[in-house]
């Protein structure tokens, strides 16, 4: 029986349970004048829940352990004695047999897999039938038990509400699970990487060329310092040189000078910049900006102007970051109490003097927090650098030279055809861990700065 049919069967059983329990409860209500703690739909929900949930839980457990049971059963087949000892080859043959038994096989099958396939199909069918029968019996039995509990004085609502609360808590726990998943998978794969490459060579080595890794000393060509420098140079230096003045001045103009109508139009317009997909920025950078930057470099006489320069990627990234800086600055400037501004204006200071000497210093923590958040976003940004930055890791201060970044290297390392045990692919997870830690620290610092400042005025 297919999973879909089973699903509909159980859902149908649940529906029947809901309707019949509801009807029964409604009859109670008509029969007696007593007050009920629960509505008929609560009774319906209670029985439906008992019908569906145990079966669903059983199916989830069964689905995770059935493949193992099926394989065990296949191994008792007489043909299975010819299988190679446990290892990669054995797993491959078993997988192939499973695919053939499902009709998904392709190419000419190995003879052993072909002989095992019928046994596999039989075991699978058996497992499916056991699962389906037990699930349906379970649904029926627990549903019937719940149905017998329907009495006028039974508090079905409390039961239902307890289930809803459990569901809410489970939903909230997904966030923790995701965080744990990220940390665990990064740590686990990085630990394997640092088993092959000493952590100091990775963090402090200055030579990065993962294409040619010497198997005897993989750490020699996996020093990530050039990547860290490139990321910092593009994301925290060039992009910020573009984004901070433009974002800050835009925020100042829109909060202090602009007419309400202009603010109404320009603020969303600038915010659209944050909604443009980064792949579009990347294409813009590679197609339009990079050639312009190179032509400019050649025109001013730079010798080694690369078409994949740090400047092109950084410029476009800066444009992308403008709205982050400007909306954070906007928030913190408007949060400065009007009395401070009015006091300064009343003393005879011009508006720009008020802004520079009073508003900005007062808003500074918020602005700095916003800039730190923007830096964190720029460092984690991927597509622009994948499309516009080069793959060559260099330690350079020349913005026209090619540089590479952590995120670009992660993409490059993992989209190749390498197996999952090589230091090359595992290095991507080590880079990911570094990126995660750095952005996490930046975010924490930024949020603390912003929070502390907000408290000062409230």
């Amino acid at each position: 029986m297919s999973l879909l049919v089973l699903f509909f069967l159980i859902a149908g059983l649940g529906l029947i349970a809901w309707l019949s329990a509801r009807m029964r409860a409604a009859r109670f209500r008509r029969a007696s004048k007593a007050r009920f703690s629960s509505l008929p739909s609560h009774f319906g929900g209670f029985v439906a829940m008992w019908t569906v949930l145990p079966a669903a839980i059983f199916l989830a457990v069964w689905a995770s352990c059935a493949p193992g049971l099926v394989t065990d059963r296949v191994l008792t087949d007489p043909a299975a004695v010819h299988l190679p000892p446990p290892g990669f080859e054995r797993a491959a043959i078993l997988t192939e047999a499973r695919l053939i038994s499902r009709g998904d096989g392709f190419g000419t099958p190995t003879p052993l897999a072909a002989t095992l396939a019928p046994a596999y199909a039989a075991a699978q069918t058996r497992a499916d039938w056991i699962g389906a029968t037990v699930a349906l019996l379970l649904a029926f039995a627990s549903g019937a038990w719940a149905f017998t509990r329907i009495r006028p004085d039974f508090r079905a609502r409390n039961q239902i509400e307890r289930l809803i609360m459990a569901l809410l808590l489970a939903a909230a726990l997904v966030a923790i699970l995701t965080t744990m998943g990220i940390v665990a998978s990064l740590l686990f794969e990085s630990a394997r990487f640092f088993g092959m490459v000493p952590i100091s060579e990775f963090l402090f080595g200055t030579h990065w060329s993962p294409q040619v890794i010497d198997p005897r000393d993989p750490g020699a060509s996996l020093g990530a310092v050039p990547l860290f420098w490139g990321t910092f140079f593009i994301g925290a230096v060039i992009a910020m040189i573009v984004a901070i003045p433009l974002g800050l001045m835009s925020a100042i103009y829109l909060t202090q000078y602009a007419a309400p109508r202009m603010r109404m139009w320009m603020k969303p317009l600038i915010e659209v910049l944050a909604g443009v997909p980064t792949v579009v920025y990347g294409y813009f950078a590679a197609l339009t900006v990079a050639p312009l930057v190179r032509d400019f470099a050649v025109a001013i006489g730079v010798r080694w102007a690369s078409s994949e320069s740090a400047l092109a990627a950084g410029l476009v990234m800066g444009i992308m970051i403008i709205p982050f800086v400007s909306s954070m600055a906007d928030d913190s400037i408007t949060a400065v109490p009007a009395a401070m501004r009015d006091g300064s204006l009343a003393m005879g200071a011009t508006q720009s003097e008020t802004i520079r000497r009073v508003l900005l210093p007062a808003a500074l923590p918020g602005v700095v927090g916003g800039i730190l958040l923007a830096v964190s976003r720029a460092i984690g940004e991927t597509m622009i650098v994948v499309m516009a930055a080069s793959g060559v890791a260099t330690l350079t201060l020349n913005p026209f030279a090619s540089t590479t970044t952590v995120t670009k290297q992660i993409v490059d390392l993992l989209t190749g055809e390498a197996e999952f045990d090589s230091p090359k692919t595992l290095a991507a997870f080590a880079l990911g861990l570094t990126l995660f830690v750095i952005t996490l620290l930046l975010n924490i610092v930024a949020l603390t700065v912003v929070k502390r400042y907000r408290e000062a005025y409230e």
Binding site: I164, T179, L186, Y253, Y257, V279, S352, T415, L435
Partner: protein, 424 residues
Amino acid sequence: MTERASISSTPAPTDWRDAAHQRRMAKRYAAERRFRWLGLGAVLMSAGFLVVLLVSMLSAGLSGFVQTQIALPIDFAHSRLAIDPAKLRGRGADLALAAADLGAATDAAAIAAYGPDGDKLLSDGAWTRVRDQLKADPSLLRRRATVWVPAADRIDIAAKREGAPADEAIVAKLDAARALKTSFNSFFLTSSDSTDPTMVGIWGALKGSLLTMCVTLLIAFPVGVLSALYLEEYAPHNRWTDLIEVSINNLAAVPSIIFGLLGLAVFLNTFHLPRSAAIVGGLTLALMTMPVIVIASRNAIKAVPPSIRDAAFGIGASPVQVVFHHVLPLAMPGILTGTIIGMARALGETAPLLMIGMRAFITAPPGGLRDPATVLPVQIFLWSDQVNRGFVEKTSAAILVLLVFLLAMNGVAIYLRNRFETRW
């Protein structure tokens, strides 16, 4: 009078007409004007970047929606095609047409019409257009007909803008013979990826995007809203709920590529879900979108005034009833706005999907959640890597489609916010 006298007895008043003072004031006012102009300049420059971006995509991409076609006269009656017209009706049509060598017949017709290099004027997929025509009108087989077929890439480029001089000459000649026309490229919206830029389309990627977004929405929306309800309405204040809160806020700021690494390590390597499938892409993006939805929902729930809860409690509702019957419906517009914004971000996301292998060359739209699929931003990324010049306009055209979707979603979000925003 006495008051004035007392004022004049204070230190000498500012002499507003003093030259030094005037100079100083002029300097200050000039600084003021400069600062103001700087601000205006920054605003205009930021908006200008957006305009430049849009204009460059429009100018490069609009021609992607237009296709150059060449008139191809084919004498079906004498072409010795082994097709039985009777078979073209009903189910056997595709099989019968596949068996006949239409490619060769098309090339032969082109050589007959336009000289020895005639077949090179047509796109490699030109014969599929002939096939579609035959399917639509089997009576063509008995006569001579003119079929409009897509031109080869280089002719297409030469017809739209500057191409190689030799191609320009061919275009001029064809144009003079009225054998060239440009029309709306509906094929671009209905076909999938291909190696030939004249035959590519975005439907496969669009369908992949839709499937992925479905998975994302189905997971991120319920989980996000429920956890927001829990945290805002029921959660006790203890170390556990603090931990949940901190993780949600952190997840919202984690770089998207990290979610790709998570998807790769957990969904592919641990759970062995199929590579490059919409379901894995949707799961990965759901984890990324969920914190955005949680944060937006919490703000919307927080905005519902306590008096509403108190009133519901007052007439005997249970905590669950208060939230699900009263608070949630009132917070819904805000929750939906946040959800749309989160989904728009997920729709434009590329990096995490590259990590889970959604960069394969896929020529058929995915049939289900486990089929190999690609999504629109990844398709743009793949096309942008192509050296073939014909792909430039296709990439920009696909970007335009993506931007239209995103702007529409953001527009709906803004409309919802304005329409349903309640001030309590």
